[in-house]
Symmetry: none
Subunit: 229 residues, 2 copies
DNA sequence: GTGAGCTTTTAACAATCTTTAACAGTTCTT
DNA sequence: AAGAACTGTTAAAGATTGTTAAAAGCTCAC
């Protein structure tokens, strides 16, 4: 089995080396670069599976680097390390195509957890484990065609409806984190988008009301859970 | 049951005692040992959930101890305390199987933060095995659907109600430690959350009052016990 | 370009969930 | 026995979510 190759861009020498060693010990294949410029040079001639980029770096900062990376590769997961927990920074990061971000100071645990989460996610997406059809009680949902079938009646979903239902299905019987859903579907997780999401939840509930065993329940302050009992 | 048991190995008497007291105040069950040798002796005959090891100790240093511990238990999380921020040391630590490290001097908050990060992860890993239905006297409780049935009447519980009842059920006829419940459900175990929990206990008692054989009794200063007689 | 028909967001209000406050009762400590 | 700490219970305040409808955006044929 191939080791997962990680590009690490971090200007703090201690932290950089430390992270590199930690990732290697955890059996990843990690390359560490001291600034965005050097990282980018390596990126364009090497295959990486994941990028961990510090936001504040001399020569070329993390956001700029991320944008350049995205021009070449729209798929590769990017995790930002940011010293400030300022909301603006984080939003900026997501616009640059981040999959996750970690605020310093962080624990190795936390980093590892997020790395693994990101990898699980992309694995699923890539490996085609991504379902072309979900069975939800008596319903059948096809994300590709955005069709929801119940018996012989078919209902065409809108893009947002379909995206949200797909996320719920992918996390069936588990909590779909509100912010995660917002970040993946709406990109920006502000108040209005959150309300918009609530509206879509209400719509989906209406569509799914024929089968009482199917329910979308709210987990207060956390998110929603699609359950099939 | 419930209290998380921590093995603490630290040769500095002041720091060791301080850490032990602090962890206990934060309602962990902490054993402190003055060197690696003594710590190991206790480790092999006691169940611990987490190890915090100082790197520099007489008789047996932290790395050696960690390696020995790993021979017995590959899973238990290990956090190193290291005086030097020398990279070599930390790298050595990771190789010995560390899950995280903390450089001295560190704040108690920092330690706690990392301890809790580690615990959260292992807790998630362990949470796999769980019942889908509990019978409580004449009641039937389904944590997944958050439904509490009594005869043919069904009551939908809120998330917090359900989470708490689930913990009580998982520890039926045993004491559910107050702080354990708080940390599991409320994450932070402060005064207000404790009062909040009391409110929920009152609610659950109300829901369960139809069957007099079912009772939630308080164990003063310890927690609550769901009994079925 | 423009308007019909659709999708999505915003607004508004109702309902629900959780926390906080307040006070009464209990158990422990000294 | 009296004070301190802990628990029981109810109600309020605060926050989140449910739901519907109107407003704003978008698309595409004309």
């Amino acid at each position: 089995m191939q080791k997962i190759k990680i590009l690490l861009a971090e200007d703090d020498e201690n932290l950089g080396m430390l992270l590199r060693e930690y990732l290697i010990v955890k059996s990843y294949d990690a390359d560490w670069f001291i600034n965005g410029e050097k990282a980018y040079k390596s990126f364009i001639k090497t295959h990486y599976d994941l990028c961990i980029l510090d936001v504040m770096m001399p020569v070329k900062d993390g956001y700029t680097l991320a944008k350049e990376i995205r021009l070449t590769n729209a798929e590769i997961p990017i995790i930002f390390l940011t010293a400030k927990s300022l909301k603006e920074d984080i939003i900026e990061g997501f616009k640059a195509g981040a999959d996750d971000y970690i605020c310093k100071p962080f624990s190795m645990e936390e980093l590892l957890f997020r790395v693994e989460a990101v990898i699980r996610r992309t694995r699923k997406d890539a490996a085609g484990i991504q379902q072309s059809e979900y069975k939800i009680g008596d319903y059948v949902f096809s994300p590709n065609t955005q069709l929801l079938r119940y018996g012989n009646t078919e209902h065409k979903l809108t893009t947002k409806e379909s995206d949200l239902l797909k996320l719920l299905c992918a996390n069936k019987n588990m909590i779909l984190d509100r912010n995660f859903a917002l970040k993946t579907i709406w990109v920006d997780d502000n108040y209005f988008n959150a309300r918009s999401m609530d509206v879509y939840i209400a719509k989906l509930r209406k569509y799914l009301k024929e089968d009482p065993r199917v329910q979308i329940i709210n987990v207060h302050g956390k998110g929603f859970k699609l359950i099939e009992s």
